[in-house]
């Protein structure tokens, strides 16, 4: 668990982070979003003491981080950044094994751990272990970066726009993988991004920052439905907000059981988002869809009324 209590950071006369308080619970993915220069990266880097905070207190699992030596603290916290920061003169395997070696694990255990992580991140050992970072694609390099951050099995993972430099398709793929990974590993993750879609797709807790302060925090749906002010509303996409809400709601949450009515031709998978369902309706000129499962068998149906009308009340209409 990470707790920030009225934490402040000044650079010269500028206040970069202004008395922010924030709690990230164990196993939670907390996304810090905001425009550039809003203090989100500074906040992240104060947690592992790459930057020292000037005021307030930061606690990890109840202990103030100033009690730890900065290096020892950082070896216990995973860290992944946008440029990957892979060492270009080290092979992939050596890069991943960095922190375990700093922690003086025996070589055999480091080797085992590296292989385990490469498997976890879908990087075949025989194909990638001896490659150098310059031989990797952007997505592969970022996977290695995440593997390196996870190497010593830290409880906490700090990620600073890790997918920011990737093309949209690779980015979406890696976001999906991170979601899967998180559901298995249950790390406490602080994730900085300026991409609202990414934050909405990944976050358990969304923290919107502006000019060094936290403007609003809460579950993504809470923010989408009740933005605190115009800034949050515009950051959430203004009028597009509705679609963003649709994009993080699954069809399965809104579908109705099969009725006696004839099933429509147009179909959508139960794990698709409402946004995708809307797209199918728009394309097929349909206001009702059949919902199917993995075997393409119908499991329910979804109407436009159900998508739209059920928005606020959480499905109380019929």
């Amino acid at each position: 668990m990470i707790e920030l209590k009225s934490v402040t950071k000044r650079f010269g006369g500028e206040t970069a982070v202004d008395a922010i308080s924030l709690t990230v619970n164990r196993g939670e993915l907390c996304a810090l979003v905001g425009t550039s220069g809003c203090g989100k990266s500074t906040t992240l880097r104060m947690i592992n003491r790459l930057i020292e905070h000037d005021g307030g207190e930061i606690h990890i699992d109840g202990r103030p981080i100033r009690e730890f030596d900065g290096r020892i603290l950082r070896r216990r916290i995973g860290y992944a950044i946008q440029s990957t920061g892979l060492f270009p003169h080290w092979s992939v395997a050596r890069n991943i094994g960095l922190v375990p070696r700093l922690l003086k694990w025996p070589a055999a255990r480091v080797g085992e751990r590296v292989e385990e992580l490469m498997a976890l991140l879908g990087l075949p050992v025989e194909q990638f272990a001896d490659k150098y970072p310059s031989q990797l694609s952007g997505g592969q390099a970022q996977r290695v970066g995440v593997a390196r951050a996870l190497a010593a099995d830290p409880d906490i993972l700090l990620m600073d726009e890790p997918f920011g430099a990737l093309d949209p398709i690779t980015r979406e793929g890696l976001q999906g993988e991170l979601r899967d990974l998180q559901s298995r590993l249950q790390k406490t993750i602080v994730f900085v991004t300026h991409d609202m879609d990414e934050a909405l797709a990944l976050a358990d807790r969304l923290v919107v920052m502006n000019a060094g302060r936290i403007v609003q925090q809460g579950r993504p749906l809470e923010l989408l439905r009740a933005p605190a002010d115009d800034f949050v509303a515009s950051l959430l996409g203004g009028d597009d907000r509705g679609l963003k809400e649709a994009a993080i709601t699954r069809v399965a949450e809104r579908m109705q059981p099969l009725s006696l009515r004839l099933l429509p031709q147009a179909r959508v998978h139960r794990d698709a988002t409402l946004r995708q369902a809307l797209a199918v309706m728009f394309r097929e000129h349909a206001d009702r869809l059949a919902v199917i499962d993995d075997e393409a068998l119908p499991v329910g149906e979804l109407s436009l009324r159900r998508i739209v009308g059920a928005g606020r009340e959480g499905g109380s209409d019929t």
């Binding site: 592992n48 950044i81 440029s83 990957t84 060492f87 960095l98 310059s134 694609s137």
Partner: protein, 393 residues
């Protein structure tokens, strides 16, 4: 689909054509009755007769044909012909010596002419072109050059009347000593400039005022002409040597190796400091941030990340400095520092061009060898560029 012939290789075509013209029109060599009298120049035809001269051209004609239609086997064949031409080069001089040197005149000597030097030059360019066409690794080319080297070594036996050879045979001991002196001066100056330069670069990174002052001083030093710098060092060093006996005992004096060493060190410092400073400063900040974020200590970041990543650029500085120092050391001969420059200035004084060549050719060879070796080392160490070609899709 219609079969497409490989296009004409214009580089090989031009080089072979130019080589053919210079080979036939310029003097292959000259015969002089003794060391001082200018010799009589002979073109290849005059030197060994038209029939043999035409034979000597045959591989070049072959190259012309291959350049026109390279084909699948064209490039390996062209490489073979080029190596054959290189192998044969000393033989034509030997033939010329046999035909024209009067055995009654033991002082008579054979000078190497423009056609021969140019042929060597064109053939080297051809080798470079063919090597890149065939994507030949350096060690493979070296292996192929081995028979050429053996051939030249054998041919050296027939070339006793060669003026260069005669200049050398009189001063074998002095020549070896000069080579050793030259290498010691260069090695010493480059080695100490690496140590001193690295120290200065590190100090500059600590303090921007030292940085400005240091670069101003080193840039100023670089603008002093080398002869002037040797002159400027003469008086203070002579004074120091007279003041402190142990310095004189070390061989320090106004002339000799000491001023040469100091001047070389001074000139070497700028490229060394600049490259080391830039190398250390320009390491990707993302990599350094990650290194710190992973929990490496400052020392670990420097030794395991910053230094290895800076090394290729530092080595680039060593390469530039070495090549520069090899050339400058030649001038240092003027103040009695020894080295191969001695022969150059002796030769100039005696109007004996072959003696000048005896000094200049090894300097050229040293500079090329240092450049190639250090360049190869730099590429080997640099993972950012050399492997990028194999990048995954």
């Amino acid at each position: 689909m219609p079969r497409r012939d490989p296009p004409i290789n214009r580089v090989v075509l031009t080089l072979a054509l130019v080589a053919l013209v210079t080979w036939l029109s310029l003097p292959l060599g000259s015969i002089a009755p003794n060391r001082i009298v200018p010799g009589t120049a002979y073109t290849i035809a005059a030197a060994i007769g038209w029939p043999l001269a035409l034979v000597s051209c045959l591989p070049l004609l072959g190259l012309l044909a291959l350049a026109w239609r390279p084909g699948r086997l064209g490039y390996p064949l062209a490489l073979g012909l080029t190596l054959l031409l290189l192998l044969a080069l000393p033989a034509w001089l030997a033939l010329m010596a046999v035909r024209h040197l009067d055995p009654e005149l033991p002082q008579a000597r054979l000078g190497i002419g423009a056609a021969w030097w140019l042929a060597l030059f064109w053939l080297s360019l051809l080798l470079i072109e063919l090597r890149s066409r065939l994507a030949l690794a350096g060690w493979r080319l070296a292996l192929l050059m081995l028979p050429v080297a053996v051939g030249w070594w054998v041919a050296a036996g027939w070339l006793e009347p060669l003026a260069l050879w005669q200049e050398l045979s009189g001063r074998r001991g002095a020549f070896l000593e000069a080579v050793v002196d030259h290498l010691l001066l260069v090695g010493g100056a480059v080695g100490s400039s690496l140590v001193v330069g690295a120290a200065i670069a590190l100090a500059m990174r600590q303090n921007p005022r030292i940085e400005r002052l240091g670069f101003a001083l080193l840039n100023f030093l670089q603008t002093i002409p080398s002869l002037a710098l040797f002159g400027l060092l003469l008086a203070p060093l002579a004074w120091l040597a007279s003041r402190f006996e142990w310095l004189a005992g070390l061989g320090v004096s106004g002339i000799g190796w000491a001023p040469a060493f100091l001047a070389l060190l001074g000139y070497s410092l700028l490229p060394m400091v600049r490259n080391t400073f830039v190398a250390l400063s320009e390491v990707d900040p993302g990599v350094l941030e990650a290194a710190r974020g992973m929990g490496m200590s400052r020392g670990q970041v420097f030794r395991q990340v910053r230094l290895p990543l800076a090394l290729p650029v530092v080595l680039e500085g060593v390469r530039i400095t070495t090549v520069q120092a090899i050339g400058l050391t030649a001038v240092a001969a003027l103040i009695g520092a020894g080295g191969l420059g001695t022969f150059i200035f002796q030769g100039l004084g005696q109007a004996a061009m072959d003696l000048v060549l005896l000094g200049a050719l090894p300097i050229l060879a040293m500079a090329l060898a240092a450049d190639a070796l250090l360049g190869a080392l730099t590429r080997r160490l640099d993972h950012r560029t050399d492997l990028a070609a194999g990048a995954a899709p």
